[in-house]
């Protein structure tokens, strides 16, 4: 059983819960009082992650920190389809790594704006919002051309990868940080598609997909 050091409102913890839900993995969550308790900065938690970050997983004694590293590990180890992190496809793997780095950028901008609004973090709010809009503009244009190529996801794979998963929470939660998605129609369509993935799960601020009869 995988143990997840978790905080429900963390977008990065949600990434891990989301992948475990999609892969059908059971887990045991250990809640960390991120706010207002700052438990992740406690001496006790430093024994688990000296960087003082969540999420961290403990998979039967194998301890790993950083959400994107955890996504790589879980997908490589547990995804029987081999599609979420396709280790045998160098091109898709390279693109996946590239977009995971891009997702670090959305964490530092869109997600930072959310921390500023929700938790009172001290960021230059105009700068982080502008940074988020710049990245969303790049992603929207990329996804628009992907659609024209008949592809639904950020990499050239016909299947979503952990890169889509890593990008989804910051995008879907952006309005909480005052970053509107009005000007990014392709990005909005991609979030609609992502929510239709089997095993999709929600967190506060992210809506469940509808259950109407399928088109046609």
């Amino acid at each position: 059983m995988i143990t997840l050091y978790d905080w429900e409102l963390s977008a990065n913890c949600y990434k891990v819960r989301l992948l475990m839900s999609i892969l059908g993995l059971d887990h045991h969550a250990v809640p960390v009082d991120f706010y207002p308790g700052w438990e992740h900065k406690s001496a006790e938690f430093a024994k688990i992650n000296p960087l003082g970050h969540i999420p961290v997983i403990d998979d039967d004694g194998y301890v790993l920190r950083d959400s994107h590293a955890i996504l790589v590990y879980l997908a490589a180890r547990y995804d029987k389809s081999g599609r979420w992190y396709p280790v045998d496809d160098p091109e898709v793997l390279g693109e996946t790594a590239s977009w995971l780095l891009f997702a670090e950028g959305t964490t530092n901008t869109a997600s930072a704006a959310r921390l500023y609004v929700n938790l009172g973090y001290d960021f230059d709010i105009d700068a982080v919002r502008a940074g988020a809009h710049r990245l969303f503009g790049v992603l929207d244009e990329h996804l628009w051309f992907r659609e024209r190529e008949g592809l639904d996801w950020v990499t050239s794979s016909p299947h979503p990868t952990i890169a889509d998963l890593a990008l989804f929470p910051d995008v879907a939660l952006s309005e909480e940080g005052g970053v509107s998605r009005e000007d990014y129609p392709a990005l909005r369509r991609w979030t609609d598609r992502f929510r239709q993935i089997d095993g999709f799960t929600v967190m506060p601020g992210i809506f469940a997909p509808s259950r109407a009869a399928p088109p046609g």
């Binding site: 244009e141 024209r148 998605r181 129609p185 609609d192 809506f207 109407a212 009869a213």
Partner: protein, 598 residues
């Protein structure tokens, strides 16, 4: 307030934006729009706020026929934006007047067009063939439209042929002159030629004034590129427009920001914020419809499709009926059989009753395709709850009609239901092809004797599950049997819903009594042989009505004091015992006095 910008048609979205089951978030002249395509292809352009609590409809769900608000689940029909269901009030039919604001919409040149109060036609451009236009990626520019149009008049791009060559790896061909061949406040037509004059392309660049400081460039190329050069063409224009955007935005930042546009939010209509006046004139036929199709749908049953002569048909809910005013002066009620969001036409089924009063005979024999009929707006006295764990629909003969609308709504919403169709033979099942489309949920009971029907009902209505609701429509004896069996099986009145075709009750109208009207401060004598409704109308007190025989429930009023003799088949036994409501068309007083809340 409407200036030129408000009276024009503007593009508000691209065809790429209105994909199935998605709600596009748009903006025009400072007003946010929710733009969505129903499964039947219809594109809706609505104000992007739910009239209930103001939440953006663009975060709602496009279920293919209706848009569902994310906040409280209010459902709005495609085409009308009328509310069809309020989950917090599952037993009630929402008032037809609950309606979000809609704007005109049409598609041309691969774009969706709308406007505040557009008059005339959207632009027809000689440069563009309606079927041969090729929409490019919309690019949002944070600058006023006039700056964008000015920059577009100096915009440069390569002819399509040369971009196609770039796809072969030969690099873009040498660019030539770009000339403005047309321009107004909101668009520029440009013709690009190659340096050698051997090829040329025309493109129209529309500037959508989203807001005072925000413009979306929606460009359309004349002629469709070959399939293998489409992506290079899209990329070429996207790159060129992105450069234009960056230059215009840099210039706009040097200028003082323009005054923001303020879209007027309409006041909530008076009919939603105040208690409505009673209907002024008894049975009204507010709509004129034309018979677009008439065809046999079963033995002795004719189907009619009715389309609007002018304007949009009003919203209906499953279970609703319309009054049809016939050429021979009779008025008859027919249930709408349409599925959710089907508002391009009303579809009814009419069973020929040779021994009836002549209503069905008139429709069967005299009404033809092309004829115009007066009908009422849809009225729903048989509302469908959607909070049941399971719904059981029981149809006898032509009683299928309201249940067919219900079954389609339940199926579309993915709710658990079963539909039992009782008919004399397969040939007597009306709208069989629609019923076939409901799949596994349908059970057919064909050619049963009365006792076999009773046995089948026993099995269908046996053992009520938790939160199960039953809806029955059919001939009187079948409804009576179903009522008895459901009660004996432990189903409560509030979970079993009936719709009668007619009221078989033998009414004793020999009594004389007084009705006191609490709100109108009137006291009226009802003589033998007259109905309360007749007396009310004779004294200028108007009440809504439809069937006027105690079957439909339209004329029900609250009873404040006195003991009514009900005589109707609309209220269930519990409601009749409570005595809180009655039908003024057939109900009378048990004593010498009734006090009514009108």
């Amino acid at each position: 307030m409407s200036g030129e910008a408000e009276r024009r048609w503007h593009p508000v979205a691209s065809q790429y934006d209105v994909v199935p089951r998605h709600v596009f978030w748009g903006r025009l002249l400072g007003r946010e729009l929710a733009v969505w395509r129903a499964d039947d292809g219809y594109v809706n352009v609505w104000e992007n706020r739910c009239l209930h609590r103001g939440v953006r409809l663009s975060v709602g769900t496009n279920d293919g026929r209706e848009l569902v608000c994310r906040y409280h689940g209010w459902r709005y029909a495609s085409r009308t934006a009328g509310c069809t269901y309020i989950p917090a009030h599952p037993a009630d039919a929402p008032a037809r007047t609950i309606c979000n604001r809609t704007f005109p919409a049409l598609e041309r040149y691969g774009l969706v067009w709308s406007g505040e109060e557009p008059d005339g036609e959207p632009p027809v451009l000689d440069a563009l063939e309606p079927g041969g236009a090729f929409a490019l990626r919309g690019v949002t520019v944070r600058a006023p439209a006039e700056m964008v149009v000015d920059a577009l008049s100096r915009h440069r791009f390569s002819p399509t042929d040369l971009i196609g060559a770039a796809a072969d790896g030969n690099g873009p061909g040498p660019g030539g002159p770009v000339t403005v061949t047309g321009q107004d406040r909101y668009h520029v037509v440009l013709r690009a030629e190659s340096a050698d004059g051997g090829s040329a392309s025309t493109a129209v660049f529309f500037a959508q004034p989203a807001d005072a400081d925000r413009t979306v460039v929606r460009a359309v190329l004349a002629g469709r590129p070959a399939p293998d050069s489409r992506i290079p063409v899209w990329r070429h224009h996207n790159t060129a427009l992105t450069q234009l955007r960056d230059a215009v935005e840099a210039e706009a930042r040097r200028r003082p920001p323009p005054e923001p546009m303020v879209a007027a939010i309409e006041e909530v209509p008076i009919h939603l914020s105040e208690v409505p006046e009673p209907a002024p004139k008894g049975r009204r036929a507010g709509l004129r419809v034309q018979v677009a199709r008439k065809w046999p749908v079963a033995e002795d049953v004719a189907g009619f499709e009715l389309v609007s002569i002018a304007g949009q048909l009003p919203t209906f809910q499953p279970g609703a009926h319309i009054d049809v005013h016939l050429p021979n002066g009779l008025v008859r009620q027919y249930s709408l059989t349409n599925g959710p969001g089907e508002l391009d036409r009303y579809r009814i089924g009419v069973k020929l009753e040779p021994d009836g009063g002549g209503g069905s005979r008139s429709l069967h024999e005299n009404v033809r395709v092309g004829d115009v009929l007066a009908v009422s707006e849809p009225r729903n006295n048989f509302p469908l709850r959607r909070d049941a764990v399971r719904t059981v629909l029981v149809a006898g003969g032509i009683g299928i009609t309201p249940l067919l609308a219900m079954a389609q709504a339940l199926r579309h919403q993915g709710l658990d239901f079963e539909l039992h169709v009782f008919a004399r033979s397969e040939d007597h099942i009306a709208f069989a092809e629609l019923i076939d489309g409901l799949g596994e949920s349908v059970t057919r009971h064909i050619g049963l004797s009365p006792s076999e029907t009773g046995a089948a009902l026993e099995s269908v209505l046996a053992g009520p599950g938790p939160h199960e609701h039953v809806y029955v429509c059919g001939p009187g004896p079948m409804l009576d049997a179903a009522r008895r069996i459901a009660a004996a099986g432990g189903r409560t009145d509030d979970t079993v819903h009936f719709e009668y075709f007619a009221n078989p009750t033998d009414i004793d109208d020999s009594t004389t009594f007084t009705v006191e009207l609490a709100r109108s401060a009137l006291s009226l004598e009802v003589p033998a042989g007259a109905t309360i409704m007749e007396v009310l109308r004779a004294n200028g007190v108007e009440v809504s009505s439809s069937c006027e025989t105690g079957a439909c429930g339209t004329c029900r009023v609250a009873v404040l004091d006195g003991e009514p003799v009900h005589n109707d088949v609309y209220l269930n036994d519990t409601e009749k015992q409570q005595g809180g409501e009655m039908m003024v068309c057939v109900s009378r007083a048990g004593g010498d006095r009734l006090v009514l809340d009108i």
